[in-house]
Amino acid sequence: MSHLPYLAAGWILLAGIFGMVTSRNLVHVVVCLSVTQSATYVLLLTIGYRKGGTAPVFSDIKPTGKVVDPVVQAMALTDIVVNATVTALLLALAVQVAKRRGTIDPDQLRPLE
């Protein structure tokens, strides 16, 4: 149990890369990329977890109890925004590739030379 959560993050990372490598569709590639990124939030939040800790918000509890690490949460929040924007931009590019090249299968796209 003590290191399992970190391994879960690693699995998600590698699974995402596997999807990207074997993909036959650029939209699928971009979605797999966003799965890869989700590994980073899982890693960050598992690192910041503290047994018995509560969420780092003190609206209803007095500020003495144990809380989990708020810094990793702030990082994960930033990361989620980055994920959404990068995914949207790459999908926009994928749409344009489909229009200009007529296919979004990486195997059929002509080399760029």
Binding site: M20, L33, T36, Q37, L90, V97, R100, R101, L109, R110
Partner: protein
């Protein structure tokens, strides 16, 4: 003051994005150029201050108490400030070049260029690893958009997509590494982490270094992370290429160097040899690929790969003299390569193509771009007293001392290959030498809207200034001293930590460096002499039969297939990790 250099371009970018659609184009140009000019002046002042004493600014006033802080510092040591200044100068050149170039969509191009400046400055100046990741992403996002700017062309969007996917993947691997470091040190600042790394588990630290470096090495286009670069550079608008090749790619190497010296110094013994191996392969493969290209921008792109490999090799010696050489090489390369891209842009504008065979002899009347190609070729070859030569000379001397006898020949070969390719273009396009071949008959967008009858001075002046400056850089002794001082501070981890966390003194003793050594001059001459046969042989039919299978295989490997690039990236991380553990 440091904050203003980041805030000013970002704020003007925001205003241009909000109101730019109602402003006339000349006003947008003037506002953007004026802003970057102001930023250049500001960064000049920051650099001057940093040369006296490095500037540390804690944002929001979260100064450290008892050696720890909850905030983020900006650290302007001379190296960082100097690089930020280079960013500003190149953006200025690119914007002046764009006055009469590139069709604007509202004012978004200018807004993005300004944001790009802000992002690169922030990336260079930040003293916090996670913050560096955020600005790395900002930089990358803007770069994807600028690459795909001419969205109506098929190659453009394809190149931008490959660039985006591979760079983002690299960045996420970096973030995993940041996570590992955070778990062990409980810190995010370079200095704060560096202060806590000694005594940590060796394996964890090494893996974290490998992962953190991945994103930066992707940006630096080290083999096998380099595939995206040519795809993106060949299709990005010319002024954007100036920034990409001139400084963005090099920022990847800077980031590796910064994380190493500020945080990991001494904790990863394998770092030097591992980075050097990547550097050597990158320098050579980039050079070979460069010679094989016929598309002028793609050719220049591979030459960037090769030269960044040389810079990486210089950093890998992990020594202050070599780092000074690498920094000087970077400076010289930035000038030459930017000028070459601008000259290529004028060709594209004139003839709607960048295929070297199709351009055969058509540039005879274009004196200035021709001169830029000639000077640029000689500069890349490492002809004294160019900046590349001076940097190379310093790096070679340091490598010699470290017993890396092979470093100098690798540099000469890389210079000869890349310079030979550029000189070949000069001979063929501007002199009309060699048989005129058939082209691909594929026409590209001119990037200017209507084609121009005469090239305006705004398109030529930046190229002349940059190329001219870069080839005499080796004569400016004061600058060489400045760079060696900057490098001396850069490699002083204890000084960095003290200055950031407790406002302590940060002085480095650095003996003055001199590039004018016999070995250095011979190395430079060798580069030029070897470049000539590369150029002349290249004019004839390509690759002799014996080499053809290898050449075909190399070309096939650079396939534009994004899945393949991702596979290579994964293998690259594994390889780099292995090298770190075994070397």
């Amino acid at each position: 003051m440091v904050q203003a250099a980041i805030a000013a371009p970002a704020l003007v970018a925001v205003l241009l994005a909000a109101g730019g659609r109602w402003l006339p184009r000349p006003l947008v140009d003037a506002v953007a150029t004026g802003t970057v000019l102001a930023v250049t002046v500001l960064l000049g002042a920051v650099l001057a201050a940093a040369l006296r004493h490095p500037v540390v600014a804690w944002l929001g006033g979260w100064r450290p108490r008892g050696g720890v802080s909850a905030g983020i510092p900006l650290v302007a040591d001379p190296m960082a400030a100097g690089l930020a200044l280079l960013v500003a100068v190149l953006t200025l050149a690119a914007l002046v070049f764009s006055w009469r170039y590139l069709v604007e969509v509202q004012a978004i191009y200018h807004a993005l260029m300004l944001l790009f400046t802000a992002a690169m400055c922030a990336f260079v100046l930040t003293g916090d690893l996670f913050d560096a990741f955020v600005f790395f992403e900002l930089m990358s996002v803007i770069a994807y958009v600028l690459t795909g700017y001419k969205a109506e062309e098929p190659r453009t969007v394809h190149g931008a997509l490959n660039f985006g996917v591979i760079n983002s993947l690299g960045a996420y691997v970096t973030l995993m590494g940041i996570g590992l470091l955070y778990a062990r040190t409980g810190q995010l600042g370079f200095a704060a982490m560096g202060a806590r790394l000694p005594g940590q588990d060796h394996r964890l630290v090494t893996v974290a270094f490998a992962l953190v470096c991945t994103g930066f090495l992707v940006k630096a286009a080290a083999v096998p992370f380099h595939f995206w670069l040519a795809d993106a550079h060949a299709v990005a608008p010319t002024p954007v290429c100036v920034l990409f090749s001139g400084v963005m790619v090099e920022l990847g190497v800077y980031a590796v160097a910064r994380t190493y010296w500020a945080t990991f110094a001494g904790a990863v013994p394998g770092a030097g040899p591992a980075l050097a191996s990547l550097g050597v392969v990158t320098a050579l493969l980039g050079g070979v690929m460069c010679v094989l290209q016929r598309h002028v921008k793609r050719l220049l792109a591979y030459s960037t790969v090769s030269h960044v490999g040389v810079i990486l090799l210089g950093v890998a010696a992990l020594d202050h003299a070599s780092l000074a050489g690498a920094a000087y090489y970077l400076l010289g390369h930035a000038g030459v390569k930017s000028a070459l891209f601008i000259a290529a842009g004028t060709l594209l504008n004139r003839f709607e193509t960048l295929d070297e065979r199709e351009l055969h002899g058509r540039g005879r009347r274009m004196r200035v771009p021709g001169a830029v190609f000639l000077i640029g070729g000689l500069g890349l070859a490492g002809m004294p007293p160019s900046g590349l030569w001076a940097g190379k000379s310093l790096m070679d001397e340091a490598a010699e001392r470290a017993g890396w006898w092979w470093a100098a020949p690798v540099g000469v070969v890389a210079s000869a290959l890349t310079a030979g390719a550029v000189l070949r273009v000069w001979l063929r396009v501007f002199r009309g030498v060699g048989p005129s071949g058939e082209g691909t008959d594929e026409h590209e967008d001119t990037e200017t809207g209507p084609r121009m009858s005469r090239l305006p001075w705004t398109m030529l002046a930046p190229a002349i200034v940059l190329a001219g400056g870069a080839v005499v850089l080796g004569l400016i002794t004061g600058l060489i001293h400045g760079v060696s001082h900057a490098a001396g501070l850069f490699v002083d981890q204890r000084g960095y930590v003290a200055a950031v966390l407790s406002g302590g003194a940060w002085h480095a003793a650095s003996e003055p460096l001199h590039p004018w050594t016999a070995a250095g001059v011979i190395g430079g001459a060798a580069g030029v002499v070897l470049a000539v046969p590369v150029a002349v042989l290249g004019l004839r039919r390509p690759a002799p039969r014996l080499l053809r299978p290898a050449v075909d295989r190399l070309r096939a490997a650079h396939s534009g297939h994004v899945g393949e690039y991702a596979a290579w990236l994964t293998a690259g991380v594994a390889l780099f990790g292995l090298l770190l553990f075994t070397a």
